[in-house]
């Protein structure tokens, strides 16, 4: 008696969740109906929110599994990286790990944070004029009292300091919390720099701004201040194209203008200061004491059948970007790191 005259069914359904690293190509041909979660007509589909992918007729029940099957996809990022889910608490991902969560996958270019010690290590509490210190950072001639170093609700480490200063000079003064002059990154005229940080002004009798300033090779302040703005609750950002002849260093600076005869009384908390050369701000890169640090690019590559595709990218805010006429060869297609937004919900490729 023939027990099984029909073709054998796969031992596991193609869409079943699995935990191993064994490839799980879909046994059906691409002419068979697509999985219900793949858009009609799509030739390939990456779902960053639900962590699954469909490439060349094969289902992958996680993006990590896709990246482990070199015939279908690869992933590389030679450094750690942070991810901000909707909970608002940063998650850390190790080297080679796809940054993914409820906002989708995070795809960013290689970026250098030129602000040293953004992780706030090696500090001594107290007044900076008498023992208190935070390596790689300074308060100029006014000094400040470093009260504590704490982990904020978003998971980043912040310096908490009190800043009290009486301006007895007769002219307006500009106290600044900044990266140390000797630690400012090299820069050149025409370069676009971007400063950012989580900043909480707990109390202050003067308004404060995040600024980018320009200095010459000897560290002398030149000119040119681009005042930043608060782009999200507690998050400041400023950008500036350097424009002063002789500029050789970039300064990340935060502070008020104190009129003659006035006294500043304030308390401020700052986390993850960042100084980067990018057209868009990227997620925080935590730098160690005495060094800048580079977050390598998120290089997610897929290998659909060679051809020409129109690719629709859907972002975390549900906006979309269409990449038309993408010619994909046997070498595959790497998700661009200069998309309209960094958090990507889905990527759907359609034969053009």
């Amino acid at each position: 008696m023939t027990l099984n005259a029909s073709p054998r069914l796969p031992l596991r359904l193609p869409f079943a969740k699995r935990s191993g690293r064994v490839p799980f190509p879909n046994p059906f041909t691409p002419s068979m109906p697509l999985p219900v979660w793949v858009p009609a007509g799509a030739a390939f589909f990456l779902d960053g929110v639900n962590d699954r992918a469909w490439v060349r007729g094969a289902s992958f029940m996680s993006l990590a599994d896709l990246a482990l099957n070199a015939a279908y996809g690869t992933f590389s990022r030679a450094s750690t990286g942070l991810y901000l889910p909707t909970s608002g608490v940063y998650q850390s991902f190790t080297s080679g790990q796809i940054r993914r969560g409820d906002k989708g996958m995070l795809i960013e270019p290689a970026t250098l944070n030129g602000f040293k010690n953004s992780g706030m290590s090696g500090y001594t509490l107290g007044y900076t004029g008498s023992g208190g210190s935070m390596p790689n950072m300074g308060f100029g001639s006014t000094g400040a009292t470093i009260n504590s170093v704490d982990v904020l609700a978003n998971g980043l480490t912040a310096i908490d300091f009190s800043w009290n200063y009486t301006n007895s000079t007769g002219t307006v003064q500009y106290p600044r919390f900044s990266n140390q002059v000797a630690d400012m990154p090299a820069a050149a005229i025409g370069q676009l720099w971007r400063a950012s940080a989580y900043i909480e002004v707990i109390s202050s009798n003067f308004g404060m701004s995040l600024l980018i300033q320009e200095r010459d090779a000897g560290g002398t302040y030149l000119s040119g201040v681009s005042a930043g703005s608060i782009v999200a609750p507690g998050f400041y950002e400023a950008s500036r194209t350097l424009q002063t002849a002789g500029v050789a260093k970039t300064e990340w600076a935060f502070g008020p203008a104190v009129p003659a005869g006035q006294t500043l009384v304030s308390r401020v908390r700052i986390a993850a200061p960042q100084l980067e050369q990018n057209s868009k701000r990227t997620t925080p890169i935590i730098t160690p004491q005495n060094s800048t640090a580079t977050r390598a690019a998120d290089a997610l590559k897929i290998l659909p059948d060679a051809g020409t595709y129109n690719i629709t990218v859907t972002f975390d805010d549900n906006s979309t970007q269409v990449l038309s006429g993408q010619v994909i060869t046997g070498a595959g297609w790497t998700v661009p790191t200069n998309l309209n937004r960094a958090y990507v919900k889905t990527i759907a490729g359609y034969a053009a």
Binding site: A182, Q277, A296
Partner: protein, 141 residues
Amino acid sequence: MIDHLLHFEDKAACDAVFQPPADGSPAWLEERGTVMPVRLVVADAVYDPELDAITMPEAIATGYWVACRCEIKSEVLVAMPECLTVTDTARAKAGVPYVLLSRIASDTVLARVEPVFAGDDYPWPPGATGAFLQENLIASP
């Protein structure tokens, strides 16, 4: 991850081996691994706040340096005479011998490598010499 530190005479010599992208990216992925130009800081700049000026400029090791980070040790890179050290970041973090290769003389003072790949500080202490690397060589099986 495995870091290979390479020293070239100048940028042109380096560019003949590694091809940096035109966009000036601080690091890039190529077949051999992720390549990041670095500087070797021999002495930090000294700033005098009273003068608001740098009184001693930063001292940088001569030549052109790159760190190339790979999943595994690259025999292609190791075969290049420009490759001076090969280190295992995971072993360094674990506090066990982590040096796979050192071609640095034992009395050479090691400079600070900057920038670092995010998440990993460079695994030798300030002021260490090439002897430190020899002491941290992974014993041959």
